[in-house]
């Protein structure tokens, strides 16, 4: 099952750092998150779209929010979800 890592303020909302969820694509995974952690998915999605400045990577490669969330996943994929972050 894909592993989902949460960062910054999302950890407090979910009460955990990592999740494992079944899902054939990213949209399915996020729907699964919504079932278990409604407040977490509310922090990530606005309707069917990612909220501004939410960053998702799959195996370290950015998901382009403009291309949607119907991205196929493999069982060993690592998904990272970041809330709005800034710095440097």
């Amino acid at each position: 099952m894909p592993v989902i890592s949460l960062y910054a303020g999302l950890r407090k909302i979910a009460g955990t750092r990592d999740l494992t969820l079944e899902g054939e694509n990213l949209a399915g995974i996020i729907r699964g998150i919504g079932e278990r952690y409604p407040s977490l998915v509310a922090a990530i999605l606005d309707g069917d779209h990612l909220r501004p400045h939410i960053i998702i990577t799959i195996n370290g490669q950015n998901v382009d929010p403009e291309r949607g969330l119907e991205i196929p996943l493999d069982a060993n994929d690592h998904i990272a979800i970041f809330p709005p972050i800034a710095g440097g």
């Binding site: 960053i55 403009e66 972050i85 800034a86």
Partner: protein
């Protein structure tokens, strides 16, 4: 004219005298303040014959027309000089309170020339400048000097050097308000070379504002925008800049063990999340800043501001160290000794690799958190091997026959992004006028964070236009002088409108970007006059030739050459990176 104080304070340490004279307002209109004005004045004052550590070099402290008006983040100021680390033009800027106080003392610019025979400190009050013997302060650390000279955030502010500056470390910082720093490129060594320990300012009056109603409206608008942006209202205050650690590591762009890898297995242990959970005491902020990104952290041994992301990376991943407590303590030590944390950490990382490869005889090796504090102290006091580290990684690695192990550009240590995983950042480092720098534009937003829009971080073609835009924008903001974090919630347009409201001169957004382009080209001309060439617009061979062997950036080197060609064209420079006459005329630089 409102905004500007219209006055330069010119100090000669040879004679311990000073004079004041009007700021050239045509120059001010074209270069605004801070970095821009500093570059323009340095062009006149310090030529290629001047050694950076000689009395003929100058320090130019400059604020901007918005400074001390109360506009959000209008606390910053800059110092310009010829860098003893790189030999390039240098400016560094800092927040806190000192810049605001200096403006309220009635000056836009202070030029410090010459060299005092004995240690001295300067006290500036409105209409009054005095020189004081600093024999009793010489050798003291930053916190002690700052307290002794009466630091009071809203009334009296202290800027000083620590032992690193006194000992002419080429990576020495100038510190202000105790823990803020004009860090990069060694301005602390220039101040040390002048036997100048400290400059204390007391101000009085805020600058005049032409259109108060418009000013108040824009102040209100900006406050709303900063509060509405999750970046400036939540991300920065909640986790500080160190929150970058996990994302940069996640995408395989976190330089690790002197750039031998680009992911660090200990990133979580040194992340913003861990800092907040275990060591955060409270937030702090600079004058007139509603963002409050500063972290005050505490261990059993120290309490102080920071560490920031770059510092945590430099003493952490770069050195293969996952001991956040040791990193916090190294940061506090750097602030107290007056030394640039990025260059210090990166130089230690370089020494660790030199040692592991057997090129030097040292106990330094990756992961030795217990050696961080000693290494920083050795650098600041030029003790033992610290004498080599004190001059930065390139001089040190060159001395031992392996300059290729210095992770620097133009001699300045690179910050916390491996450009093999962020191609645009590579071009940015290679072309940065003060050497490798993430504050001369930063592609992190576009290439990783998707701010304002995500672009392919591995793409090469077309990348130069983004780099140029960011470089010009950063030069513009540095000339105002505002904090770049403001720009995460507020568009450049607001800065132009605010500048117009304060000064009465109408600036459009395009005018501000043009100011930035003018400053960038002037800095380029300065470096060309110093003898820098196209060959200096490069990166360490490791980044150009050694592909990463694992992680999300696996297989990549920096494709610099095609980006550089495109960049020169985009800049209106010839194939050797020399601005064409037409470009200089367009920027009103043809007479230089």
């Amino acid at each position: 004219m409102a905004g500007w104080a219209e006055k330069i304070l010119d100090i000669d340490l040879n004679t311990k005298t000073y004079k004041t004279y009007p700021l050239d307002m045509e120059m001010a209109r074209s270069f605004i303040g801070g970095r821009g004005l500093g570059a323009r004045l340095l062009w006149e004052l310090v030529g290629p014959e001047v050694d950076p550590l000689s009395p003929e070099n100058v320090l130019i402290f400059a604020n901007g027309p918005l400074t001390a008006t109360g506009y959000q983040t209008s606390n910053r100021f800059s110092v310009s000089t010829k860098s003893p680390l790189t030999g390039t033009i240098l400016d560094a800027n800092s927040g806190g309170f000192w810049g605001m106080q200096f403006k309220k003392a009635g000056y836009d610019v202070m030029i410090v020339r010459g060299r005092s025979e004995k240690p001295v400190w300067i006290e500036i009050k409105p209409g009054e400048v005095s020189f004081h013997d600093a024999d009793d302060l010489w050798g003291m650390r930053v916190r002690a000097v700052t307290a002794k000279l009466g630091q009071n955030n809203n009334r009296r502010n202290v800027l000083c050097i620590g032992p690193a500056g006194e000992n002419l470390s080429r990576i020495a910082a100038i510190m202000n308000d105790g823990e803020r720093s004009l860090a990069r490129g060694g301005p602390g060594a220039v101040m040390g070379s002048k036997n100048l320990k400290a400059i204390v300012v007391e101000g009085k009056d805020r600058p005049e504002i032409v259109d108060q109603e418009r000013f108040k409206f824009l102040l209100y608008e900006t406050r709303k925008l900063l509060a509405a942006s999750p970046l400036t209202s939540q991300a920065l205050p909640e986790f500080g800049t160190v929150v970058m650690m996990n994302i940069v590591n996640n995408v395989g762009a976190l330089p690790t063990r002197n750039h031998q890898q680009s992911q660090f297995e200990g990133a979580e242990a040194i992340s913003g999340e861990t800092l907040t959970e275990k060591y955060l005491v409270k937030n702090a902020s600079c004058w007139a800043c509603p963002i409050g990104c500063t972290r005050v952290s505490r261990t059993e041994k120290v309490e102080g501001e920071g560490p920031e992301f770059e510092t945590t990376w430099a003493f952490g991943a770069a050195c293969g160290i996952d001991d956040l407590e040791a990193i916090i303590e190294a940061n506090a030590l750097c602030n107290d000794l007056g030394i640039d944390t990025i260059s210090a950490g990166s130089t230690i990382a370089c020494a660790m690799e030199l040692s592991e490869r057997g090129y030097i005889d040292s106990d330094l090796c990756f992961g030795r958190a217990d050696l961080l504090a000693r290494s920083v102290e050795d650098m600041a006091y030029r003790r033992d091997f610290g004498a080599d580290m004190a001059d930065g990684s390139l001089r040190m690695a060159t001395k031992y026959g392996h300059p290729e192990l210095s992770m620097s550009a133009k001699g300045m240590e690179m910050p916390a992004y491996d450009p093999r995983g962020m191609q645009g950042q590579g071009l940015l480092y290679a072309t940065s006028n003060r050497g490798a720098c993430h504050m001369r534009g930063n592609m992190l937003g576009l290439e990783v964070l998707g701010l304002p829009k995500l672009i392919d971080r591995f793409q090469v073609q077309g990348k130069s236009s983004f780099v140029i835009l960011h470089q010009n924008s950063s030069a513009s903001i540095d000339s105002l002088v505002l904090c770049k974090f403001t720009n995460m919630g507020v568009a450049d347009e607001y800065f132009a409108r605010m500048l117009s409201a304060v000064t009465g001169i109408q600036y459009a957004t395009g005018d501000m970007i043009r100011v930035g382009e003018r400053v960038w080209n002037l800095e380029r001309l300065y470096n060309l006059r110093e003898g820098f060439t196209r060959a200096d617009d490069t990166l360490p061979p490791r980044l150009l030739n050694e592909a990463l062997t694992e992680g999300p950036s696996q297989g990549w080197v920096v494709q610099l050459e095609p980006m550089l060609k495109e960049y020169y064209r985009g800049r209106g420079w010839d194939e050797n990176g020399v601005p064409r006459p037409q470009k200089l005329a367009e920027l009103e630089l043809a007479n230089l």
